[in-house]
Symmetry: C2
Subunit: 329 residues, 2 copies
């Protein structure tokens, strides 16, 4: 295992300390590093909290800040955070208007967020993200997995929370954005969880995993590596089949690297995806390209498409200041 | 070779097309993709142009925009752009106040930018960046290499150009920022140039290259992989020795991933570097952490420190809008 670490047991703690030091203008760490929260809260705003296993950075801590999350609870690598972390985060950022949990659909996360929601003596609701169209049910999931589309849900709902939407409105908006969002990914290599010390899965030198999950879970099929256009055709095809968009539909296109994919390749995939979406009559009105929802150092990428309306676009464009995404301020 | 590509010969063209489509609000492509330039130019401003081999993305095209570069010339992967590209870019973005070339110190880049400078019938000057303290002379370089510190030079000089500094002032500022900047990197894995199809260099399963260049050039020594604190001690030590800072000196700290390094590890390196800089009495007043000056999918990182004064900090903080870096607007 080749990693820039000291001890397997302290990877997360040391990384969170570095993150908090680097972004001290935006975030602060909760006691015992239970959560990352905004430095400044906005009283009367619904508090948005997400979280999940670490190893997907910048998701979620990198999305804490104005216009997105209020707090993120980091579990150990690929391991759900505990209900205690979620409760501590909720108590820290509750501004009197309730708490909205945004949860990727993995069994561990679901169970722990549900326990926290039941224990919390503050009005709360949960948006479940399950944008991955690759497979129904998977290694860690009943139903579809929550993957890179989580970024889009967190951003649009975060912007609406900033403008003062109520908990019920935000819950409805989050569910609607999730429903309008579809993703699918492909892995060219595996990744290595520090505590495991060996690759999560094995992939031959000429193979790829089509429909991979963000923990390296199996997708639709393992096949010989094909070219970028072939990969994009399969990913975009599955997404369009799921969303069943009308001609001319405006969409946000997110091309997301899993951690080990050069920018040069990600933009090549943008080009491939654009041609396919254009041919399908879909109108890409916003792009986001980069390494945002990762599986440690896995090579590969996912494509996410969200069908949007004017209001959602306005929310997308509104001022945003987090460690990983920043515009308009 | 596992890459998201179609044909080796069209990687750069397809990637540039995707980049231009994704960031059409900020940039546009020159004819025959000779350069990436700002969509909107500012008449009367000195034009800043950089460039170099591709494979280091987001450097340089990702830094084109308000507050940074006016144009970037992308060569083929790890290959200098041609003087024709630089001339075409200069003619396209010249605003009547002269052209400043910002060039990383590699023999090929130096030769081609010098030819362009001589052929250009517009007042021009060149800032040479050579921030890599690892080695004197290297595979592609006479003297010290230009690496991640280039980002800091391009940003501070770009901000000064935006406020209206003259060509002579910008040349002096760029030279001063370069002199105040030192970097050193470490590689844990090699990288594969698409046209070559095999890794640029070989590194054993338990080895790292200390002082590696951004094309995988040899550094100071190849040794057994050590822990993050040990690596940070060597990199920061070499940087501090070079800069010979006074106690309390304010600095910008850039922890840069080479392409295949997870964010989790980069922030762990931030934590390690912060402790060392604190112990040395240096005051880190700004952080930048991410994958900015890369060697395709190489795993590893570099640390860069720039000694700053209040004026440079103001320039650093001023509004910036590029594909890869954005704040204040």
């Amino acid at each position: 295992m080749k990693k820039l670490i000291n001890h397997v047991d302290t990877v997360l703690a040391e990384s969170l300390d570095g993150f908090a030091a680097a972004h001290a203008d935006i975030v602060t760490l909760g006691a015992e590093r239970q959560f990352v929260r905004r430095r400044s809260l906005k009283p009367g705003k619904v508090a948005l909290i997400s979280g999940g296993g670490s190893g997907h950075e910048p998701l979620h801590a990198g999305f804490v800040g104005h216009g997105m999350l209020d707090a993120a609870c980091p579990g150990q690598v690929f391991t759900s955070p505990t209900p205690d972390q979620m409760l501590a985060a909720a108590q820290s950022v509750d501004g009197g208007a309730g708490v909205l949990f945004i949860v990727k659909n993995y069994s561990g996360d679901m169970m722990n967020f549900q326990m926290a929601a039941e224990m919390l003596d503050v009005e709360n609701a949960t948006v479940l993200v399950n944008d991955d169209v690759a497979v129904e049910n998977s290694t860690y999931t009943t139903g579809r997995r929550g993957v890179a589309g989580t970024l889009i849900v967190e951003r649009i709902v975060g912007a609406a929370a900033e403008r003062g939407d109520t908990l019920a409105e935000l819950k409805a908006l989050g569910d609607a954005v999730n429903k309008a969002t579809a993703s699918m990914g492909v892995a060219l290599t595996s990744c290595t969880v520090p505590a495991a010390g060996k690759p999560t899965f094995q992939l031959g030198d000429d193979e790829m995993e089509v429909g991979v999950g963000i923990h390296g879970e199996p997708g639709r099929r393992r096949v010989k590596l094909t070219d970028a256009d072939g990969i994009a055709t399969e990913l975009v095809g599955a997404i369009l089949k799921d969303l069943a968009l009308k001609p001319g539909q405006p969409v946000i296109l997110l091309v997301n690297g899993f951690g080990g994919t050069p920018s040069l390749e990600l933009y090549l995939m943008v080009n491939a995806a654009m041609k396919l979406l254009g041919a399908a009559g879909v109108q890409v009105v916003r792009h986001l390209t980069g390494t945002y929802v990762t599986s440690l150092e896995m090579a590969g990428c996912s494509i996410t498409v969200t069908a949007v309306n004017d209001e959602w676009l306005q929310l997308w464009d509104s001022p945003l200041q987090t460690a990983a995404l920043r515009w308009g301020m």
